[in-house]
Every structure is written in structure tokens, then in C-alpha cells.
């Protein structure tokens, strides 16, 4: 066998042919790809783990419904997004907002307390977004994906996604400034 990794389509075909354990290749491929996204979407790493597990299992169960197995990643991503939304709205809580501050970047990078506050600020600011905006923002700024990649994953036009990310940033800025 050649040293190249098997394509998603080839792995899907093998799973559907009965080699169930081979599904693990897809899990090992896409869990690292989307773990960060899931955590930012769920707001909590344990919730994200549950959501990812559930998503993979559903993907397995519904694998015959994957009409373009060469795009398994994008198909799985949508299942995962759905699970993250479910888990987040089921278990996510909105606590009373504590002051979060958009601080100027002159703060020393070693200041752990400052970093913690900034991280919390972003986490709470993400709460203010609609699900669509949060997804787009996370893909862009947390995952660092290009608009082109995002268009492929979300099956949306780049200009629509750009608008969504811009709006998300506006919402977040408004939230962060209101705390000052």
C-alpha cells in the first residue's frame, strides 16, 4: 500500500462495506481538526468532548446519508455544529456578566491575571452572538481559517460569511466597550 493517507471517500467506502473499525481513521483525522471549534462553540471542553463524541457516532450511524464522501469533513462539520448548538443551549448558562474590559495592548504579556480577564472577556462576548455569528467568528479567529475554507465548510458564500464575521466583531466590540 502506498504511504499516502487514504482519502475520506475511500475510508467511507470501506466502513460502509463492513470494516467498521476503519471509521477510527476519520475520527483521528477530524477530531483534531475541529476540537478547538467545538470547545469555543460549547464554551466548555467537557461539553465539547460530549458533543464531538455524539457527532461522530451520529456520523457513523448516518454514514449512508453522506452523499459526497469526498467531502466527509464538511458533512461531519455540520453534524458537529448541530450538536454543539444543542449542547450549548441545553447546558450553557448565562451568568450575570462581570465587567469585561477591552484593554489596550500595552499590558505585559506575562501578566497572567490580565490574560485571564481578557480570555474571560472574549468568552463572554462570544455568548452575545447569534449561533451563526459565533460559528463564523470562531472559524475565522479561533481556528484561523480563510473565508474560502469557511465557505466550503459552511456551504455559504464568502461575502455572506465576511458580513457575518464583521457583524460578530461589531457585537463583541459593543459588548466589550459597554463594560468599560
Amino acid at each position: 500500500m502506498a504511504g499516502e493517507p487514504e482519502s475520506d471517500a475511500a475510508v467511507v467506502a470501506r466502513v460502509l462495506a463492513g470494516e467498521i473499525q476503519v471509521f477510527g481513521i476519520l475520527v483521528a483525522r477530524y477530531r483534531p481538526a475541529f476540537a478547538r471549534y467545538a470547545t469555543a462553540m460549547c464554551g466548555d471542553p467537557d461539553l465539547a468532548a460530549d458533543a464531538m463524541q455524539e457527532a461522530f457516532i451520529r456520523a457513523f450511524d448516518g454514514l449512508r446519508g453522506c452523499r459526497q464522501p469526498e467531502r466527509f469533513g464538511a458533512w461531519f462539520f455540520r453534524i458537529l455544529t448541530n450538536q454543539c448548538r444543542n449542547y450549548r443551549s441545553r447546558w450553557g448558562k448565562h451568568e450575570a456578566a462581570e465587567p469585561a474590559v477591552l484593554v489596550e495592548a500595552k499590558a505585559s504579556a506575562d501578566d497572567a491575571l490580565m490574560q485571564g480577564e481578557l480570555r474571560d472577556a472574549i468568552a463572554r462576548a462570544l455568548d452575545q452572538l447569534s449561533a451563526d455569528q459565533r460559528e463564523a467568528f470562531v472559524l475565522r479567529h479561533v481556528d484561523g481559517r480563510s473565508y474560502r475554507e469557511m465557505a466550503e465548510l459552511l456551504a455559504e458564500r464568502e461575502d455572506v460569511l465576511r458580513m457575518r464575521v464583521h457583524r460578530a466583531r461589531e457585537q463583541m466590540r459593543r459588548f466589550l466597550e459597554e463594560q468599560e
Binding site: T39, A49, Q53, F60, R67, A121
Partner: protein, 219 residues
């Protein structure tokens, strides 16, 4: 739409332009980027141990492509459901899932699995919803709603030769949708089977359907 960030700043934040010329705007943009980056690197993410959990779960399910049972919902519901209502709801779900094969799970199967979401939306989070209209004299019927910018031509119905009824099936995300049928490009008509009818404030009435993850039960 303009908002707190200037167009310059938005391009800079997208990594597609130079920093904003205004110093304050630039400082805010840099702070925002730094905070977001800090957040991103700080995230503790699920690691490889969940891979194993998935493999074990998958192996346990017997590896068959799933056909899901509506009866599962009735039997395993955690809620106290009055039998008459439950039966009615189950009948409605069955009526809704024309085209799905319903199988009862063989008793020795270890895992219970839920009904397919929304009558076959292919696991993407949207739900297939069918719209119908009796309009024998119509030449064209279209579906205009909040989900398609109220276009009177983008989603068209087709007429069934047997029943003469106009139908179309659309994938919609869960939530509320307002819509009307557009007959012959000019008459905007309510859907009698919608959940409710509400004023649109232009002097007309919109039909409302609230789509759940399992689909809809019509009025």
C-alpha cells in the same frame, strides 16, 4: 452595515489590509486581536481519548446502518406523557415520515437509537418540510417567505398529476418561519395548514410555521 469598527479596521482584522490610521482605532483592533489569540491558545480542547470512546461505541452498535424506530420515543421517554396524546403524537410522526422505513429494533440489540431527525434532513441540521396547496385553477404556485427573502419565484411548487395538488418540499432550519404561497405570480395566499396566521403590518396576513428538529405537525 457600519458599526463600531471602521471599514479599515475590519479589513485589518481580516488580515487583508494595513492597520487603521487612527491610533485609537488601531489600539483597539490590536487589543481585540491579542485577546482573541489569547483566548484561542488558552482553550483546553478534547484530546485523543475521545477517539477511543467513539470507536468502542461504534463497535458496540453492531455496525449496521441505522434504521430508527419511532416507537423508541414512546417507550423511552423520560416524561410522563398521557397515552392518548402520546399515541396521537406518534401517529402524527408516522404520518410525517412517509418515505422512511420504520423498523422495530430487534430485542437483543444493545443500543437504543432515536428517530431520524426531521424526516430525513440528511443530518445537516435542517429539516425537510412539505408544503401543499389545493389550487386547481392555478398556473403557477411559489413559496415566498422569511427564509428566501420573500422571493415570489425562487421556490416553485409542482402539481401532482394524480391529486391535482400543488406541493413542494424544502429544507428549513428549526425555528419560526413566516411565509405565503404566491399563486400565478400575483395572489399571495395563506397556508391553512400553518400553525398560525399573523399580521404582517402591510395589511396582509402571514402564515407561521415553527419547525422543530423532528419536523412539523400541521394544523
Amino acid at each position: 452595515m457600519t458599526g463600531g469598527w471602521s471599514v479599515e479596521a475590519q479589513r485589518y482584522l481580516d488580515g487583508e489590509g494595513p492597520p487603521p490610521t487612527d491610533a485609537d482605532e488601531r489600539a483597539r483592533a490590536d487589543a481585540f486581536l491579542a485577546a482573541t489569540r489569547g483566548y484561542a491558545t488558552w482553550l483546553r480542547v478534547p484530546g485523543p481519548q475521545i477517539d477511543q470512546a467513539v470507536i468502542e461505541a461504534v463497535g458496540r452498535s453492531g455496525g449496521q446502518a441505522v434504521r430508527r424506530s419511532v416507537w423508541r420515543w414512546l417507550v423511552e421517554s423520560r416524561l410522563v406523557v398521557r397515552p392518548a396524546v402520546a399515541a396521537a403524537a406518534v401517529l402524527a410522526l408516522i404520518a410525517m415520515s412517509v418515505g422512511l422505513t420504520l423498523l422495530t429494533r430487534p430485542p437483543n440489540r444493545p443500543t437504543a437509537q432515536p428517530p431520524v431527525e426531521g424526516g430525513g434532513g440528511a443530518g445537516t441540521g435542517t429539516v425537510l418540510v412539505r408544503f401543499e396547496l389545493d389550487a386547481p385553477g392555478a398556473r403557477t404556485v411559489a413559496l415566498a417567505g422569511s427564509f428566501n427573502g420573500w422571493s415570489d419565484s425562487a421556490i416553485t411548487f409542482s402539481r401532482s398529476p394524480e391529486t391535482g395538488r400543488w406541493t413542494v418540499t424544502v429544507a428549513l432550519p428549526p425555528g419560526e418561519h413566516q411565509y405565503l404561497f404566491v399563486v400565478d405570480g400575483e395572489r399571495w395566499v395563506q397556508d391553512p395548514a400553518a400553525h398560525a396566521q399573523v399580521r404582517d403590518e402591510f395589511g396582509q396576513t402571514n402564515s407561521v410555521l415553527v419547525v422543530g428538529p423532528r419536523g412539523v405537525v400541521r394544523s
